[in-house]
């Protein structure tokens, strides 16, 4: 030891729904440190009033997302060495969501839109919610299965939602994650609500508002392609949409 420890210069947005400002912190730099480690250090060692959210710390729960140096990311799996610019970090709460306090946003509007996009599985064989008699066999090689698999690993972190300009411009827009979820269910051969779901995701607040800019795809930490899923929804709606079968 003996040598002075290298320090990270960390700016953190502090405030609430009424507004806020950036605050400066110095945090010791460590090897293999994640952005979440930095936030935790501030909260444990410097200012216990700092509000933020995490649970699993291994990239499964989707609760630790923040805007890091201008880009939405999952902080528990983001190494400081990859994102710090000259030893500086700037942390803000996710965009496009109401702030509760500091780095914690209210995710309710995000998940309300999943419900609006009919993001719940509705078994074809058991509409009343009973357990079907047998296991459904969905061959892994089928196209529909592969399209469903491509989007199924979403952890609901809100990173894509925070990075989408259309959500910012059109507050009713369902957003990439909810539409990606809808697309996995549209491709799920066991699901019985295809028609209602397509109707729910059509129109100016649904998939047709998307400009295919692909920033959702670029930001998604799970490597999911919501932009491609939305294009799939648009294709599925082309003819039914023409005929006025959906609103």
């Amino acid at each position: 030891m003996g040598e002075a420890t290298a320090m990270l210069r960390v700016k953190v947005w502090r405030g609430n729904a009424e507004g806020g400002a950036m605050a400066d912190y110095a945090v010791p730099a460590r090897a293999n440190q994640t952005v979440l480690d930095v936030v935790t250090h501030i909260q444990r060692e410097v200012d216990p009033t700092l509000a933020y959210r995490f649970a699993c710390r291994v990239g499964m729960c989707g609760s630790c997302a923040m805007v890091v140096n201008g880009r939405p990311r999952w902080t528990c799996r983001t190494h400081v060495s990859r994102v710090a610019q000259d030893g500086a970090l700037e942390l803000r709460p996710l965009s496009n969501l109401p702030v509760i306090r500091d780095l914690a946003t209210d995710m309710a509007p995000f998940f309300d839109k999943w419900a609006k996009a009919r993001g719940t599985f509705q078994p074809k064989d058991a509409p009343d919610g009973s357990v079907p008699d047998d296991f459904a066999v969905v061959p892994p090689a089928t196209k529909q299965r592969q399209q469903a698999d491509a989007g199924i690993e979403c952890i609901g972190c809100g990173v894509c939602y925070s990075g989408c300009d259309i959500v910012a411009w059109n507050p009713d827009y369902l957003g990439p994650a909810a539409l990606n979820r809808a697309w996995t269910l549209v491709n799920d051969v066991r699901d019985g609500a295809r028609k209602d779901r397509l109707a729910a995701v059509a129109g100016d607040a649904g998939c047709h508002a998307c400009h295919s800019t692909q920033s959702c795809t670029a930001h998604c930490p799970k490597g999911i392609d919501p932009s491609g899923a939305i294009a799939g929804l648009k294709r599925s709606l082309f003819w039914p949409g023409f005929k006025g079968g959906v609103r």
Binding site: W169, H208, F238, G244, R247
Partner: protein
């Protein structure tokens, strides 16, 4: 028309425009070889049904495509949303198309 139908119309007109613009440019390149005079143009367009038909479809596609695109921009940037605005945009689409078709008609009947 609702948002989904307007979107479908915009997609369909995009395909028409992709083809029409190519035909249009090739026609110009071929037509101007060796100079071009007003009399020469009118000589080709007067009474030419195929020509009138092509440019009427072109003008209609361009009018619809442009106005539906502007509708999306106005909704996002100015918050102009709703039935009233939609009807206004369809009006603007048809008006723009009418100007184009009127011009084509002028050369057809010259």
């Amino acid at each position: 028309m609702n948002g989904v139908q307007l979107w479908a119309v915009q997609r369909a007109t995009a395909m028409v425009l992709a083809l029409a613009v190519v035909v249009h440019l090739v026609t110009i390149l071929v037509a101007v070889r060796g100079g071009l005079s007003a009399a020469e143009i009118i000589g080709r367009t007067r009474g030419n049904w195929a020509w009138l038909g092509f440019y009427s479809v072109f003008a209609l596609a361009a009018g619809l495509h442009g106005a539906i695109g502007l509708r999306a921009i106005a909704a996002e940037w100015a918050g102009w949303r709703g039935r009233g605005y939609d009807l206004a945009w369809i009006g603007i689409a048809l008006l723009t198309a009418a100007f184009g078709i009127r011009a084509a008609w002028g050369l057809y009947s010259a």
